[in-house]
């Protein structure tokens, strides 16, 4: 074990090591304390918010969560967020997987152009185009209103899902085709010899092999959709209508100064954070497991 051999200078390194640990712990504390503080604040009573912020809560005041869920409509927002995220992920995978497969493994008329187009799409950020998309929906709704008497595009969580999925297509296709392009061509040839059609080959043979990259896409885009608020804030304008959790929270934060409902607000924050934190912790475990498994095989 060459790396574990003690070199001569290592003893004088103790001081440096100590400093390194202190620096690491400082950053860790700077991250843990604020996040943990939100959890602590979410079980405090409103009267406890005046005075020293570091005092421990007098009791576990779970009423905050009940109030946030019902009075501040966080329950509705939570469900909307779950729906928007799930539908957007479903649309994304349904649309992006076949496209990435064909674009990375087939040559056809216009394939270069479409590939280049999606690459260029990587540079379009949604913050620039959110206003034109909004205006497109405004005029679309005006036309629908004249024809059928009710609107469709604005204040519709399903439309938000479609927009979210569409605007993340370039990145997803880029990620998936990068992986799909590395699979050997032999798989398809073997499938054709066995008489499988194009569609069967894709669904039965190729997609199962692309599982690792699909999981990456799901994790990454779940976080992006769950935490997103610019699109949903712009597209869901009705104050009494559907809202995603981050947008609902943002409104609560703005109203917070007037009403001083701190407890509800921090309970709402916990509701947004917990799913992402749980997912993150699970993925951490999976990652280390995958690494040890790969090590055993190698």
């Amino acid at each position: 074990m060459n790396t574990k051999q003690k070199t001569a200078g290592e003893k004088s390194d103790t001081l440096i090591k100590a400093i390194i640990y202190i620096v690491l712990c400082m950053l860790a504390v700077a991250i843990i304390i604020p996040v943990a503080w939100v959890f602590m604040a979410s079980v405090k009573q409103n009267s406890e918010f005046y005075g020293n912020p570091f005092t421990l809560p007098q009791g576990i005041h779970l009423q905050n969560f009940v109030d946030a869920w019902t009075k501040a409509r966080m329950g509705d927002y939570f469900m909307t967020s779950v729906m928007v995220t799930a539908v957007a992920l479903a649309i994304l995978l349904l649309v992006a997987l076949p496209a990435a497969y064909v674009l990375s493994r087939y040559k056809f008329f216009g394939s270069k152009l479409i590939n280049g187009g999606f690459m260029a799409g990587l540079f379009i950020n949604v913050n620039y185009i959110v206003v034109p998309i909004f205006l497109m929906f405004v005029s679309g709704d005006r036309i629908l209103n004249n024809l059928f008497g009710h609107s469709f595009f604005l204040n519709n969580p399903f439309v938000v899902s479609v927009v979210l999925a569409s605007t993340t297509l370039p990145f997803t296709i880029y990620l998936l085709s990068g992986y799909l392009a590395t699979l050997p061509k032999d798989y398809e040839e073997a499938a054709y010899v066995d008489g499988a059609g194009y569609f069967t080959t894709m669904v039965r043979i190729i997609l199962p092999m692309a599982k690792p990259s699909i999981i990456t896409v799901i994790l990454f885009e779940f976080l992006a959709y769950w935490n997103e608020y610019i699109i949903s804030m712009t597209m869901l304008t009705d104050p009494n209508g559907a809202r995603t959790l981050p947008v609902g929270l943002l409104n609560l934060m703005k109203a917070q100064n007037a009403k001083a409902e701190y407890g509800q607000m921090y309970a709402g924050l916990v509701l947004v954070m917990v799913p992402t934190l749980i997912l993150y912790m699970c993925v951490q475990k999976k990652l280390t497991q995958g690494m040890t498994l790969g090590g055993l095989k190698g």
């Binding site: 640990y21 690491l24 959110v130 034109p132 935490n227």
Partner: protein, 296 residues
């Protein structure tokens, strides 16, 4: 022939939905940004008046726009420099040193990256609160009961308060990126440097830094583009440009003009200028930092 037809049908069925969606929600809106920048338009009314480059001429005389430029550029430079320093420092500590709890630190440092900007804004609002905030109550131990510091209310301070929140969010992400490229540097290089008695700092500057330079260059482009976007998200959630325009940045000013003020054409002109600026800056930085790639 039959097979060819089936192949074409399959290709179209697979590619068409993605292409159509991307066309409707990416291509047309992007085209509209450029087209609308040449019009005067209130948005809700259908009458659009072609005004040529008028919007851009007004923009060049707009004091508020220049203020948002200054803020944006300050944030780009400051946040990039500080984040780069800390993420490189922590990445090299976590890859180079043999420490207990390495994995623990890596997991913790990445947490801010998975939180919504709305959550981070709420956290920092609680930290910066003038009367019952976490920061002032810690500082109160040293400063006594003087006037509280208005982290979010002071026009001179607020942009730095914002920058700290952005750095807090970004360190973990870039650290993980640098760790990936640092861990591919062969151990033997450091072993021979150790034998020759090179200090940690020398090792960092003469081995680590040159060998991950390509990666740093790529992330600099990332930094520019993501700073413009992230500063918008943070401003929108934390300050909404206030107090009195002290934290207005590129895209928040665009959004305000286009969406809140309903001067869409003018807002889109800002969008065009910012879009061009970000690409020009990225190209310049890319050119300036060009070195011959080193191999190991």
């Amino acid at each position: 022939m039959q097979k060819n037809k089936a192949r074409s049908r399959f290709i179209v069925a697979c590619v068409a939905p993605a292409t159509i969606l991307a066309f409707i929600f990416l291509v047309i809106p992007t085209f509209n940004v450029f087209r609308m920048s040449l019009f005067r338009w209130g948005g809700y009314s259908p009458n659009q008046q072609f005004v040529g480059l008028d919007n851009f001429i007004t923009l060049m005389k707009d004091e508020n726009f220049f203020r948002s430029c200054r803020n944006s550029i300050l944030l780009i430079v400051l946040v990039t420099a500080v984040t780069l320093f800390f993420s490189l420092l922590f990445a090299s500590i976590l890859t180079r040193e043999k420490l207990k709890g390495q994995n623990f630190f890596r997991v913790i440092f990445y947490i801010p990256n998975i939180l919504s900007v709305v959550v981070i804004s709420a956290i920092f609002s609680a930290i910066y609160d003038a009367n019952n905030g976490l920061l002032n109550s810690i500082l109160g131990l040293f400063r006594g009961d003087k006037d509280p510091i208005y982290w979010m209310g002071d026009q001179k301070l607020v942009i730095y308060s914002l920058a700290i929140a952005m750095v807090w969010q970004a360190i973990g992400y870039y650290m993980v990126m640098y760790m990936a490229s640092m861990s591919s540097i062969p151990e033997s290089l450091y072993e021979s440097a150790n034998l020759e008695g090179a200090s940690r700092i020398t090792q960092f500057f003469s081995i680590t830094l040159p060998l991950i330079w390509t990666n740093i260059r790529t992330t600099l482009t990332f930094f520019i583009i993501s700073n413009i976007n992230m500063s918008f998200l943070f401003v929108k959630a934390m300050t909404n440009g206030g107090p009195d325009g002290a934290t207005e940045v590129f895209l928040s000013y665009m959004y305000k003009q286009a969406y809140t003020n309903s001067t869409y054409g003018y807002g889109m002109a800002i969008g065009v200028v910012v879009f061009t600026f970000s690409f020009a800056l990225a190209a310049i930085v890319n050119k300036v930092t060009k070195r011959d790639p080193l191999e190991f």
